[in-house]
Amino acid sequence: MISFCGLELAHPIINGSGTFDALAARRVFGDAVGGAFPFSAFVSKTITAEPRVGNAPPRLWETPAGMVNSIGLPNRGLLAYLEHDLPALARLPVPLITNVMGSSGEEVAELVGALDDRAEVAAVELNVSCPNVKTGLDIGADPVELLAFMTLVRPATTKPLIVKLTPNTADVARCAVAAQEGGADAVSLINTLRATAMAPGTDRPWLGGGTGGLSGPAIRAVALAQVAAVCRGVDIPVVGMGGVQSGHHAADLIAVGATLVAVGTENFRDPAVAAKIAEELAKNTQIAGL
């Protein structure tokens, strides 16, 4: 059992927001998903106050050992989430972390406040880092703005608040310190790196959204450096992620100080990979413990 912000989790492996849809997975794979649920907590994809349809396709570009996505945070909005998704997600065998985003501290405070009432929500993750949406970038990239943002959002809930930092910044550790000062219970990183691609043989961008975010093994070494820097800077727990594909990669993030490790893109290659990673990690830890 791992303690994280007051939650007791079976192992350190969770999912990265937006990289596993537990409800869709249950439709596709049936009850097997529930029985063998691979994550020790489930992080929902980013929810916004109003519904969003997301970006125009194409939304994906495969890169060497990675991918660029420009999904654009499609979601049915807070109300539908509260009414439809939360009750269904509550049936998962693990605690639920709801990820939210908004264009101002006030807006996010309202979102967070609405979740505060709901027992299904074990913790809230604040997406201040999505490279596809202007606001996310700006708040999370500047320590001063991030602190001001947290000052508005923190009072809105007594639930644990995890700040998901943006990697697209000069000094991510300073942003993490600002989040901590602003009352964050934990920070998570890294989100995707701002990236783009051209449509083959043209001078137009491939992605409907113009730019997107790079994820996967390609960014693993960047993630490790950022997580290490943040762990050196803060006392609160850190959720490390970025390109994790194996127990070894998870162990590296834990070695530099992460408490939990999130798996993102690798879920796309194998929906059950997180269970394998958790096992490998447990085996590593046993060996190291001897």
Binding site: G18, T19, F20, D21, A24, A25, R27, V28, F29, G30, A32, V33, A36, K45, V53, G54, A56, P57, P58, R59, L60, E62, T63, P64, A65, G66, M67, N69, I71, P74, A199, W206, G208, G216, P217, T265, N267, F268, R269, D270, P271, A272, V273, A275
Partner: protein, 274 residues
């Protein structure tokens, strides 16, 4: 789909038991002991266990979506066209090589109402899902007609994967000289009581959608789209809906009723201008 067992959770290893070619197409067979039988129009995410990631531009990285061509005691059959690093690697597999497989995935075709015949319209490698559909329809004694379009004579060898197909080729080297939609028009002119099941390149699907809509003939279009996951996790594979918003091709499709799709939708999802 409630009558079908869901896909096993997690990718599994299959072994290629047969590899043959039909013109430029490669057909791989892989026995699948653990998976439930797929429905026509469903697909699998495939990757080679060895050598995935060493092709052009250090790709492929993600698995690739393939319709099931046939399914039976010999295993699952897939029909592949080499168009890039992923299909190139898969086409290079030999008997005994291993595949990662996830599936069956997505919503397949649904049968025509009683009295209407099934008109199968395929282009290029898009004939794949129609082959299994023909198997299923003929088993339920539904009348079936098949019209297929190909680039040229070598590709037209793919027509052998279905029975009694009328063929059109772009260069006229085999069958009708021109577009498959001309054959489709002729079929519909003769008898409009049909449901059209189509799969093929975006421009062909768009043409099918448009003319059937105009004629009031229902269509079920099996779409392609760039996919990262195939099971609803990434939201990357979307197609716009006529009603607004987007649907995920992998879980809401890949088969969509033509009426649900707006004009140009099929081109947009492929990065071509509408």
């Amino acid at each position: 789909m409630s009558d079908l067992a869901p896909a096993p959770f997690g990718r599994r290893r299959l072994r290629v038991s047969d590899r043959r070619t039909e013109g430029p197409y490669v057909v791989l067979t892989a026995p699948d002991a653990d998976g439930p039988p797929p429905r026509a129009g469903q697909f699998y995410m495939l990757a080679a266990v060895e050598g995935w990631g060493a092709g052009e531009d250090e790709r492929p990285f993600l698995p690739r979506a393939f319709s099931v061509l046939h399914a039976g005691p010999a295993g699952l059959e897939f029909m592949l066209e080499d168009v890039g690093p992923g299909t190139s690697r898969l086409c290079g597999l030999a008997v005994g090589d291993q595949l990662w497989v996830l599936g069956p995935l997505g919503q397949g075709f649904t049968p025509p109402p009683v009295g209407a015949r099934a008109l199968l319209c395929g282009g290029g490698v898009g004939v794949a899902p129609l082959a299994l559909w023909q198997d299923e329809l003929e088993r339920s004694q539904t009348p079936v007609s098949v019209v297929l379009g190909f680039r040229d004579a070598p590709h037209a060898q793919g027509a052998a994967l279905l029975r009694a197909a009328q063929v059109a080729t772009d260069d006229g080297s085999v069958g009708h000289h021109g577009l498959v939609t001309t054959l489709l028009d002729a079929e519909l002119d003769a008898d409009t009581a049909a449901v059209v099941y189509a799969c093929g390149p975006p421009a062909m699907l768009e043409a099918v959608r448009e003319r059937c809509l105009a004629r009031g003939v229902p269509t079920q279009l099996a779409l392609e789209s760039g996919m990262a996951c195939g099971y609803g996790a990434c939201y990357g594979c979307v197609v716009p809906l006529a009603a607004g918003g987007y649907a995920r091709v992998c879980v809401d499709g890949p088969v969509f009723a033509g009426e649900l799709l707006p004009a140009g939708a099929l081109l947009a999802a492929h990065g071509e201008s509408a």
